[in-house]
Amino acid sequence: MLAPADPQKAVDLRLTHLRQLEAESIHILREVVAEFERPVMLYSIGKDSSVMVHLAKKAFHRGKLPFPLLHIDTTWKFKAMIEFRDKFCRENGFDLRVHTNKQGVEEGINPFDHGASKYTTVMKTHALLQALHEGGYDAAFGGARRDEERSRAKERIYSFRDRYGQWDPKNQRPELWNVYNAKINKGESIRAFPLSNWTELDIWLYIYLESIPIVPLYFAAKRPVVEREGTLVMVDDERMRLNPGEKPHDELVRFRTLGCYPLTGAIPSSATTLPEIIREMLLTKYSERQGRLIDHDEEASMETKKREGYF
């Protein structure tokens, strides 16, 4: 964790900010596992999830993870993500559970016909609530960070959800020090966010420092894309609906965040190494959520989604 410290020298007794964040996250991970009966970790395959799982491995270093990983598969994830997920979980011996909202699939809910907002509600929020309910989980780890979005900035590390998974921003429990309140009634649950205090830069620095594996889509490569409303959308499979006259062309792009491919914009980039990615991120003028089409639907859309049970 830290280079061996000599207690004689006071100067050695300080942790860098990444080591402090790491220690804090490990504390949260262990606290949840110690106080809840059936925890689960939401695994979205993205870079934040990679860091969260890495921290979990550190927290329970001698044994297996004392909880399963849960992936909500909307069926619209990038192929490269699913490949990465399966290989990563197999190699580490993780207990991976995958859940899809079957009703949504039967009804043919997709991002093209139903719009980002409805699609997200059915295939992500409802799917998540189904999976949590079916698994009987009383605590779920999520990789959300407070710097991502305005309403997230107010969310607790232990975020209380009622029996319908809903968040009530006006009625949150006070949270002081690192003393967390784990008391809930049957049916209620806690979403726990070990990465709350990490920023995007911290995540990338840590991935670099610890050589954490991430999905190759984060690195620039030639990929087939079409341009829509100023956003580059990757044509990941044959389900992509092309507008008349639209023709995919190969471009050197990468992704700053990963989600469902028709909803996640790519950025032109030639960054093929972590230092290059970090450099690009530092020099960019736009926040990472800009690439996500779902947040722009309405003012405060994240808050609305979270009230409904979204992560």
């Binding site: 964790m1 830290l2 061996p4 410290a5 207690p7 007794l13 300080r14 942790l15 860098t16 900010h17 080591r19 402090q20 220690a23 804090e24 490990i26 262990r30 606290e31 110690a34 550190k58 927290a59 329970f60 270093h61 001698r62 044994g63 407070r146 710097d147 305005r150 309403s151 997230r152 900035a153 107010k154 921003p169 006006k170 429990r173 006070p174 949270e175 002081l176 020090w177 690192n178 003393v179 967390y180 309140n181 008391k183 009634n185 709350s196 205090n197 830069l201 620095l205 670099y208 420092l209 230092p275 290059e276 970090i278 450099r279 020099l283 003028k285 736009y286 926040s287 800009q290 405060a300």
Partner: protein, 626 residues
């Protein structure tokens, strides 16, 4: 900017530099009028902590006249906050420079949000208070400084804001500084720093002001980059609350946790609390290998030389440096719930990694947040701060909060609502050595109920009470009693009837007076939260007064069943009014809660009237909920 140059030209050097950064947490307090949000917006903006798209969104939404960017819009996160133009809850913000990463706990400053400031202050190294240069020191400035010191923040930074509106006057700055120094000097901060700024114009926030050449101290950001951070961690007293027992297989047994304070080395001899057993540390494990030593606030796993029974909530310490221990201690409490403190109720107390039941035995005083004077008190309400004595059902191992935030802090949880209702800071046990259990022979405490009347009332939706029906024979007491019981039951309330004539009761007196155990029975049933309806004739006032005294006036409802003689005669089945019988008489109640009768023959009407009285007396919630 040099930083941008470095990123462009030598990203590896930049990464190297940023891996060495320190972390500093600070809390900012104040309302929009103080310019607090503007100050934070300015810090984020000038350190490039804001992206272009966020800036655009904020520019679009900026509605305040004459302002290009409303910086406060960066910080107010919730819909309701933006609609109402106020900050409701603590928000966390992040930015970093080459030297440090900063976490800002941004808290609203209104008096009713004391709990938010306490929350934000609990983890902060620095408190930033804003004073409007035009207004000088206000009561709220004092209040914020007081709460900051109560939560043990070591460094106070006072930004005297809106200096541009006072002509950047050195005299104005010095006057406010002198005035406020006098007050904060008594609060026990390690250091207090004053900085003249204009958040709106950007003077002395990130960039040095050209309007105040007389000020030679650091800008706010320079100050935040250099204020000691790591030195505030207690590294002298080793405290390791066991968080999790790691036992993946039979060969490995480690104790995981976060070092709350101090330093631990391999081969150290340690004591396990509460067992007091002593052993040696054979390894300090992390995923990346063993360490020779570890210190606060690292998360590690310790392996011990001997197999000792240790579980979550136990504490590992050095045998020559023990924490205080005991079931009772004094603490400062910040009350955070709408429901006031209930001293009869037992709460869950969470301290380090353990949870125990605890009561607040005594409130010594509350601090008046207007005058900051101590006032005698018996209770605590939302946003009150007071000194209390806590009694736990098991001993805790603790230190005074002043010297050790990790082992001196606790929260109280309401076991009915599961809400966090208070934050506690343990005071030095030395102040009241006679109350320290460790120095007292253990005394056996009588077991007593840990459920308070209020808790019961909340669960049942009713307050326990005794409804005493008194009236001459055959006036219809039992008929009314059972009608009342049915009516309450149908409204999901719990009632019971004590009917001396049900053929099961023993000890009924021929004159209708109640047996001697009745007051005790009434009290117990009432304590249990029931609405107990008694149907004794009880012609003697003294009998009824005995019941009233035992149950308590506020839980005693007296009903006089005053039915006409003609009806009574008609109803009488036992011959009370027959020939050869003395005419029954009674000492009628002089001020009953209600008088009812069976003159119209319908006990339901009487029952309904009694229910209305129960609602009026506050024993039942409301008619609508029935």
């Amino acid at each position: 900017m040099q930083e941008t140059e470095l990123i462009r030209k030598d990203i590896l050097a930049y990464l190297e530099q940023h891996q060495q950064k320190e972390l500093l947490r600070f809390v900012t307090v104040g309302s929009v009028d103080d310019g607090k949000s503007t100050l934070i917006g300015r810090l984020l903006h000038d350190t490039h902590g804001v992206y272009e798209d966020q800036l655009k969104a904020v520019k679009r939404a900026s509605t305040r006249a004459g302002m290009e960017i409303d910086f406060s819009l960066f910080t107010d996160g919730l819909k309701a906050e933006r609609e109402q133009g106020i900050t409701i809850d603590v928000a966390y913000r992040y930015f970093s420079t080459a030297k440090r990463k900063f976490i800002i706990a941004d808290t609203p400053g209104h008096v009713q949000y004391t709990r938010n400031m306490a929350t934000g202050a609990s983890t902060a190294n620095v408190a930033i208070i804003l004073i409007d240069a035009r207004l000088g020191v206000l009561q709220q400035s004092r209040r914020h400084a007081y709460i900051g010191s109560l939560l043990g923040i070591p460094h106070l930074t006072v930004c005297i804001n809106k200096m541009d509106l006072e002509g950047y006057s050195e005299a104005v700055f010095n006057k406010i500084k002198a005035h406020f120094s006098e007050f904060v000097g008594q609060l026990g901060f390690k250091a207090v720093t004053f900085i003249p700024v204009s958040a709106l114009a950007g003077d002395n926030v990130v960039h040095r002001s050209t309007g105040m050449p007389w000020y030679t101290g650091p800008t706010l950001l320079e100050h935040l980059e250099s204020v000691p951070a790591a030195e505030d961690i207690n590294l002298s007293d080793f405290r390791f609350p066991v968080q999790y027992v790691m036992r993946p297989d039979l060969d490995y047994r480690g104790f995981s946790g976060t070092i709350a304070s101090g330093v631990v080395k391999k081969n150290d001899v340690i004591s396990v609390l509460p067992s007091g057993k002593t052993t040696r540390i054979v390894a300090i494990d992390t995923q990346s290998g063993e360490l020779e030593a570890a210190h606060a606030p690292m998360s590690v796993t310790l392996r011990l030389a001997e197999e000792i029974d240790i579980s979550r909530g136990d504490m590992l310490v050095h045998p020559d440096n023990l924490p205080a221990s005991g079931r009772r201690f004094d603490a400062m409490l910040v009350w955070m719930s709408e429901r006031p403190l209930d001293r009869q109720k037992s709460y869950l107390l969470k301290h380090t990694t353990q949870r125990v039941r605890a009561e607040v035995e005594q409130v010594a005083f509350t601090t008046n947040l207007e005058t900051l004077k101590q006032e005698p008190a018996t209770r605590l309400e939302l946003n009150d701060i007071g000194r209390v004595t806590i009694a736990c059902h098991r001993p805790l191992f603790y230190d005074a909060y002043r010297g050790n935030r990790g082992t001196g802090a606790f929260i109280l949880i309401d076991s009915l609502t599961n809400n966090t209702v208070a934050a506690g800071m343990i005071l030095s046990g030395d102040a009241a050595p006679e109350t320290r259990d460790s120095q007292r022979p253990p005394a056996l405490e009588r077991a007593h109920s840990q459920v308070s009347h209020d808790e019961r009332a909340e669960r049942l939706g009713q307050k326990g009470c005794t409804v005493w029906l008194t009236g001459l024979p055959a006036s219809g007491k039992t008929a009314i009693a059972y009608a009342l019981e049915r009516r309450l039951f149908d409204s999901k309330r719990l009632a019971m009837v004590v009917d001396p004539d049900d053929g099961l009761s023993t000890g009924v007196q021929p004159d209708g007076s109640s047996p001697w155990q009745t007051p005790e029975l009434a009290r117990r049933a009432t304590d249990a939260g029931l609405i107990c309806v008694f149907a004794y004739a009880s012609p003697l006032r003294a009998d009824r007064d005995a019941i009233r005294d035992t149950v308590g006036n506020e839980r005693f409802v007296e009903v006089h069943v005053d039915t006409k003689l003609a009806v009574r005669k008609q109803r009488a089945v036992r011959g009370d009014y027959g020939p050869g019988h003395a005419q029954p008489s009674e000492e009628a109640p002089s001020t009953p809660d209600i008088v009812v009768s069976l003159d119209d023959g319908d006990p339901e009407l009487a029952a309904h009237a009694i229910v209305q009285v129960l609602v009026k007396r506050g024993l039942l919630p409301s008619l609508y909920s029935l």
